[in-house]
Symmetry: C2
Subunit: 235 residues, 2 copies
DNA sequence: CGCATTTTTGAATCATATCAAACCCTGTGG
DNA sequence: CCACAGGGTTTGATATGATTCAAAAATGCG
């Protein structure tokens, strides 16, 4: 739990330049007063593996911050096809839709702890707090940039390029140590990358046989040749 | 490339065409003070068909508003693959990236008139104008929502579903009259939908033969059975 | 008109999906 | 300690939607 002192430290007054809305290093985690707003004011809730946090078309009255665990944003077709829009990891703020209802459902990939506040409270505060307003823009703009990169990935990359890009993204988000545990199943990865579970599994095996990664367990990934993997991602 | 010097050169009176921008239906544009800010303060520039407005990795110092014409946001791979991130139509604001450089290039699909202001001017104003701050959020959030829908389209829809969704999107943006002229080539459509030009052409022909659309000319589309087309889009 | 560009159509090929089955964990209970 | 069960993962064989290669037909333009 954050106390007021930690909050002060995170507000980073030095970041405000003459321009007013400086370009911050893009990151999944806002690490800004938006996150702090959620951290401090938010009620806490637990969700177990596969629990629905909110459904598509649910009223978008709350904004969420993931304290721990992993969440997937999903869109389900009538015929069973599924697309995962994004994965959220600890620290990420999600559920902040523009319309009155959520455009994607949110489900717990594993056991999750989230904090939530009313969207109206956030907007009310933003009306008087210019820094929070700037952070809201940052949050939306960062989401936009990630989504555009995914458009490129899904529109033009091969199965192996998609998986390589995914592994590098996950490594980066887990700290860039080149070794991490995936919280999601192969099926989740497939629905994130616009592929089938079999193609994802085959691509994993392919990278392992090629010596780009090691897979001590199915969900445990260790980079053996990061440069080659990065090359394979198609940049 | 568009550095400040080149910009100055291009801003000479010759480049500034005659009066008042036409009252075009704002498609993606918010129609808010963000658009107004660009409309009122912006210098005007013309670009002819296929001209580059800015390149990928160019400094993102300017924000643009399309007065007339159509612009494509493109990402080019080293091996020639291309993905179009979005099409911008009259009224749209574009080029407002979060980072220091543009993540996509912008090119004129047909002859275009754009207005532009320095991003720093926009941000400076946003620091003191809460309404403009809110509009910036709106702009980014709307872009985010569109990009997410495209993730679903590219990740899970068939070629025909993609084209149907595209035609409905274009019709909506052109006023929803069920009859419109596409400004872009089949190749542009293909690179927008993550397909090849042949597959796009075949899908057009298929819809025509099925009686869903009429194609008096290749780029002139008239809806014959909108409901069926909408159904085909996979929603 | 004649030439370049764009679009359409056809045939062959390929990457990925689909169908099917085996494998491998990990927890449970005899 | 082993048998078993169930979810998750991998692998194999085949099918298919989209791509690629090729060429004809429109379209537009000087």
């Amino acid at each position: 739990m954050l106390d007021a002192t930690v909050l002060e430290a995170r507000l980073r007054p030095a970041a405000v330049t003459a321009a007013g809305w400086p370009a911050l290093a893009p990151s999944h985690d806002d690490g800004t007063s938006l996150g702090d707003f959620l951290s401090l004011g938010g009620a806490r809730m637990n969700f177990e593996r596969n629990a629905e946090i909110f459904a598509e078309d649910d009223a978008a009255d709350y904004v969420y911050r993931l304290v721990s665990g992993c969440v997937r944003a999903t869109r389900l077709f009538a015929d069973g096809r599924r697309q995962i829009g994004e994965f959220h990891l600890a620290g990420d703020v999600f559920g902040l839709d523009m319309g009155a209802t959520h455009a994607f459902a949110a489900e717990a990939v594993d056991d999750c702890v989230v904090q939530l506040v009313r969207r109206s409270a956030l907007f009310a505060r933003a009306a008087t707090d210019p820094e929070l307003g700037r952070d809201l823009w940052h949050h939306a703009a960062a989401g936009f940039e990630r989504a555009r990169e995914r458009v490129v990935l899904l529109g033009r990359k091969t199965a192996q390029e998609r998986l390589a890009a995914f592994l590098i993204e996950m490594d980066t988000r887990f700290g860039g140590r080149g070794s991490f545990e995936l919280p999601m199943s192969r099926l989740d990865v497939a629905d994130y990358l616009g592929l089938t579970i079999e193609t994802v599994s085959r691509s994993f095996s392919h990278f392992e046989h090629e010596g780009l990664i090691a897979l001590p367990q199915a969900r445990r990934v260790r980079f053996v040749n990061r440069a080659a993997l990065s090359w394979r991602s198609g940049h």
